[in-house]
Every structure is written in C-alpha cells, then in structure tokens.
Symmetry: C2
C-alpha cells in the first residue's frame, strides 16, 4: 500500500490521538511520536489493550519518564497506540481493538505486542513510536512491518510509568522509519553521550539462528549477509550457539527458551495474577491460552531458571568484546497471515518456540538489539538483527546507521 | 537489651507471622527468614505499611520471585515485617504500625523503610530478612540496628512481586546477623556461582564521605579504617569524590543528591500518583511531607537528571576495577531519637541530605553495597560501607566475610 495515503482511521493503530507539545527543544525538534498504550501519558488511562484493565485503573497523573525525556528533547506526542492485551502476544491481533494495519503486507499481522506503534510508523503517520519489549514485542512488529526497531540493554531506559509484564526482561524501546531517527531517539532515552566508533571488531553470525529459520527467510537474508561481508570483510564470521555459553552442552536454543519462559511466566503471575483473580477480565482466546501456560507453571522451577539465566547472561557478556556483535534473523518466519494464529506452545518447532529462540538471546543476556529492515521475501518484510554487549547500545546504533547508509548504496 | 529474651510482640517487627515450609533443600537449610511487607507472599496482602494500600489491593496469588528462590534453597519463611509507609522513609516510625524495636538502642529509631526486617534480625527472631532499598532502606536500618545489610547491583535480583517505588533505583536485598548468612542468602538471590577472590586491589576511602559525618561517627569509624589498613595495607587509599566523576567540577555530593531526588520523585509520582489521587489515603505527617516534595517537582528537570545519572554511573563503573572498592560511612549520624524526626528537606546540612549523599552513590552508580556493623559510639551502632563495581556483588560479599573474620580477631 502507498503509505502516503493512509489515514489514522485506516491504520487502526491508535487508541487515541491528541497533540502534546514539547517541553523543550533539542535533538528531536520537529519529530512526531506515538506511545504504546502500556506507557503512561498524563491525563489518559493506560489501557494495556484490555478493556477490563482500562476500566479498573485510574488515569495517569504523570507522564512516564521516557515520555518526559522525549518531550523535553523537542518531540511532539500525537497519540497512544494499540497494544496486544497486557502486552502478552507477538501477533498484533487484538479482539477488542482490532488489528493495526501492516501496510507492507496487509493480509498479514503487524506483529505484537507493540502492534499499533509499528503500524503508526510503517503507515507514515509518525516519525517514531515508543514500544515495550519483554520477549520480542518491539523486534517482531519491526520485522513484520519492515521498519527499524530497537530494544535497549536491560535497565538502560527507565521503566517508571510503564506497565510491568516480567521485570527481569521488560524494556522500553523505539520503532522508527530510519536508522537516523532510531539512533537519535534512543540516545535521548539512554541519556547517553554519542560515540564515534561504528566499526565492529567481529560480527558473529549464529549458525543455529539461521538454521531454524524457514527457507525463504534464509534466502532473503543471504543478500544482507553478503553485504555485511562486503562492508566489514573478515570481521564477519560464523559461530555456533555452543561457543556462546561456556561449558553448556547442546547446540539448540531449547534451554534458552525454557529458561526464558519459566522466568517470564513466574514474573507475569507475580505482576498480574492478583488482578486477574480479582477483576476476572475477559480475554481474547489467544491471551487466555497464554495465561493458562502462566497458571500451569511449577514455581519450584524458578530458582534453577534464574541460575541458568545468570550463567548465560554472564557468559554472553564475557564472550562479547565492547565492539563485537551477534547476528541472527529477527524472526524465523514471515509474519503470520491474519486470522491464522499459530499455536501458543513454547516447545516444538512452531512459530512461538522458534521466535523465542531468537528473541530470547537479548532477553536472557540483557543485550541491546536492533532489527534492521534489510530484506523481503515475496514482497513481505524480513528483518536482520544485530546484538551488542550489555551497555554498548550507542555503538550498536552507530553500526546500524552505517549499514543504513552503506548497505543499499 | 538482651536479644535472646525479646519476643515477637515486644519487637513490634512483624505485621504477621506464619510458617511457610521450604520447597527444596540447599544452601539455606535450617535458616528462618522474614519478608518486608512490600514483597509478595502468596495468600497475604502486601500492605506496604499503609492501611489504605492494604485495603485497596487484593492478596498476592504468587510469591515474589525472590521469596520463591529462598524457599527453594531450604529456608523457612516465618512472617512479614513492618515497612515505612510505601517504603518512603529512612526512619522506621510508622504511625499505623508503630516503631519496630531497635534492641541495640531502644530509645532510637530502627531506621527505615525496612524497619521491621532489621528489627526482626537484630532481635534474634530470624536468621535473616528480605528488605527493599531505593535510597537507603536496607543500609540505613542495618546501620542503626548494628547488623549486616546488602544492597545488590541494580537489576541483579528480580523485583517481580515487589512493590515498585522508583524503578531506576529499586532493589531487593538482605539483612542478617552475620556476614556468612548475608553472603549465602545473597548468592541465592543473585543466582550466581561463588568466587574465590577476597583481596581488593584498591579500597578507595572517599574523603568527603567521612568529612560530612558527625564527629562521633568519624571517631567511631577510625578504628575499623585502621584495621582495614592493617589487613589490606597499601590497597587502602584516600580519594576525593572529584576523582570519581571525570570532568565534573564540585567537591561535594550536592549534585548527586539533586540528581537522585529528581529521578526518584518523578518515578514515585509515576508509580503511586494515580493511586494517591484516586484512593486519597491517610498518611502519617512524615510521609505526607515527602509526597509534597514529590508533587512539587518540576518534571522538565527529569531529562537532564537522567543524563547526569548516566554520566556518573558510567564514570563510576569505568573508574572501578573489578576488584576495587569504595569506602564510606553508611550514614552520617547516629540513629535519630524516637519521636524526633529530622526535617525532610533534601538540601542543606540536615539528616536527609547528608544521608542521601552517602546512600545515593550506590543508587546513582547501580553499585552493590554492604553495610558492616563494625563500630559504635556511646553504645549506639555505627556502620561502615563498602561498595563495588556493578556486577561484582559476589566479590564484595567475600571481602565482607573476610573482614568479619579478621577485623575483630
């Protein structure tokens, strides 16, 4: 679809629109942004994609810290965007608010849970949007809608005023049409000084990450990988996931996914369980299935999962030098067709376990990740992802900017 | 007071007592612990020290992840402890629940906001207790009650199931009678492997940190500092706070405190503002005064404060080698006398700004800190604090254990 002609109503990306003026001037002067409806904007209810949640919570009295930072840097806030219910999905099909438009593939889902934020950006209605990402909720919709997505290092951006899902993995990040805007906005959120380096020491292409992707995703990404080799030469090398975690057997991501899911479900139960038991909300069938997984967790598994997480996180951050990157597909498959949700199971070879295999690396490792809209298969967007060591967000973003300039030149 | 004779009722440390059996066996077999009432225990309301909060929230349906970890490692949970209202005080005088006993100085406050946890440990009613610490809420009561207190690196221990105050600074930590128990429990929460090193490369004694303390605190700490020099020799050296933050003028902590307070108040408003506006809770006069400070904040200051925080945090963590420590007094003054709350102002030379000058270093820097009960003045406990680089919690705890063995030998 020609995005210059898409209206707010056609996008179905927004739960409300308004115009909130900047409170200062700076790097984001003249830019317009939208905010996922899991993040507070003063005076509005934070609905979290579920009407029972919206109706059982009072309006926010302050902006989330991240919104405050963006307004102070000169950006205009123009609306709040549709979220999957309680941010607990990777699809973007909300039974109460509908499915935000994926203008690059209108018969496919936009991806979630930052579905409206991705759609608003992809439809050209804003310059950038805030999203949240626990298990892929920025990266997957960025991938599906063919835009740039940034998940920061864990604990690098304030989550105050942002509805928690699983605090050990929750993050606030950005979706944008360009790498330049992505990096500018990220720098404001990270409150960090710019860096000048954009030359990776090594880019480790994770073999099993590509092997688990569908054949057309592998084919689509072979050209960007070739360009990476052309631009960075010998810095690009292949690596097995076995080499990332010293002493741990296994050449698949199965243990990563198990670990991620156990901790995520335990934390979701802690954060939302009491409200669910009390408010008895109506959920769409997809979300209800997710909460069944949450409810079925044997909580005695949590302590061991925390140990595995710390072991893997420490190994990853020791393995990666300050200018090293990891490279994986953002998702293993094209965006699912609308109305055909894949099964929720977290094991086996379905969409969810394979996607979490890829998105879980940043989650487990606390690593920053950028999804780069560098390919397509049958006109459907396919994203390539780069990850850096914890705290190396600014370096990662500079590399992304360089690739945006060079990769298509 | 002779702590072997103090009853639960006399301690006034608990809001409820029960016996929750371990769900596994391990490093904490046979130990009994209590949980601050800002942390979820399934089946109980998390009251956060304020009756309106308690009455407007449903009971927890799951244990907080930290409680789950401790039960799995073999510990018994025996009760929930008094917190200052919404964890927003450093005193431990709660107008609704009373003042938990400080058995080492019964005419003085126990310190807060983890007042009941510190009291339960100091009274010998439990082996250790969980607390939370945003601006000093574990370290100050550990100091006042003459016990060991540990605040972990930020983001090193799960906060799922723990009521947030200011997420950029919130942490879950431990109070204990001995350094051994402190380290054992901390290792379970950190889910980390043990380390064998306990020899600091350098212990930087921060000159201005001691200069701002009262004369009797300085005098009381001169003996432990002398012992540090005896044990670690030339590794102990003096340092000015100016050297910690490259390029930043100023030889006081004023900018640290301002930065901490702006971010803390903004985040508190984000987290609690809507509930306060809606539930209109009754607060004690001390807490009401704190919320006035929160309400008066000019939110345009937040973005700049976040920049200063990131600059300071990055400088601190670059300055500190993996086996370097910082050394400061835990608090600048003896525990205040009961019924004589110091003014809440965050500037000037009062109790709060001087205490936040010291506690804010770990907060701003995301650093782990241990308060060591190594001195007293007129029989009132005085704590010495050691801080390490972010992520070096296990090393710091090993040093603390070594000092516990050697410093009094």
């Amino acid at each position: 679809m020609n995005r210059s002609t898409i209206t707010v109503a056609q996008s179905n990306a927004f739960v409300s629109t308004f115009d909130l003026s900047p409170t200062g001037s700076g790097a984001l002067d003249g830019l317009r942004f939208a905010v996922k409806d899991t993040i507070d904007v003063a005076g509005f209810k934070t609905g979290c994609g579920n009407p029972t949640w919206r109706d059982s919570h009072p309006p926010a009295v302050a902006h989330a810290v991240c919104v405050e930072q963006l307004l102070r840097a000169g950006a205009h806030c123009v609306g709040k965007t549709v979220s999957d219910e309680l941010a607990l999905s990777l699809l973007g099909e909300n039974q109460f608010y509908g499915t935000p438009l994926n203008p690059r593939a209108p018969d496919r889902v936009p991806g979630g849970s930052s579905s409206g934020s991705a759609s608003a950006v992809a439809c050209g209605l804003v310059d950038f949007a805030l999203g949240t990402d626990t298990g892929g909720s920025i990266r997957v919709p960025a991938n599906n809608c063919g835009i740039w997505g940034f998940r920061p290092s864990h604990d690098a951006v304030s989550v105050a005023g942002v509805n928690p899902l699983a605090p050990s993995f929750d993050s606030v990040g950005v979706l944008a049409q360009s790498a330049d805007v992505l990096a500018k906005v990220a720098r404001v959120l990270l409150a960090s000084a710019p860096v000048s380096t954009n030359k990776p020491a090594t880019i480790h292409v994770i073999r099993e990450g590509f092997a688990l992707a569908d054949a057309h995703v592998q084919r689509a990404l072979s050209e960007p990988i070739r360009r990476l080799r052309e631009i960075f030469g010998g810095a690009v090398r292949e690596l097995s996931v076995r080499e990332l975690v010293a002493g741990d057997a296994g050449d698949s991501f199965a243990k990563w996914v198990d670990t991620f899911c156990v901790i995520q479900w335990a934390e979701i139960k802690s954060g939302l369980g009491a409200w669910i038991a009390n408010a008895k909300p109506e959920f769409g069938p997809e979300i209800a299935a997710s909460f069944q997984l949450v409810d079925q967790l044997d909580h005695r598994l949590v302590a061991e999962a925390m140990q595995v997480r710390e072991q893997y996180s420490r190994s990853l951050n020791q393995f990666l030098g300050p200018e090293d990157l990891l490279c994986i597909p953002t998702t293993p498959a094209l965006a699912p067709l609308k109305g055909h949700p894949p099964p929720r199971s977290s094991s086996g070879s379905g969409y969810y376990p394979r996607t979490l295999s890829l998105t879980g690396v940043a989650g487990i490792g606390r690593l920053p990740q950028v999804s780069l809209p560098m390919a397509e298969a049958d006109s459907v967007p396919v994203g390539l992802s780069l990850l850096a060591r914890h705290g190396q967000d600014s370096f990662l973003l500079e590399v992304a900017k360089r690739l945006a300039k060079q990769a298509w030149s």
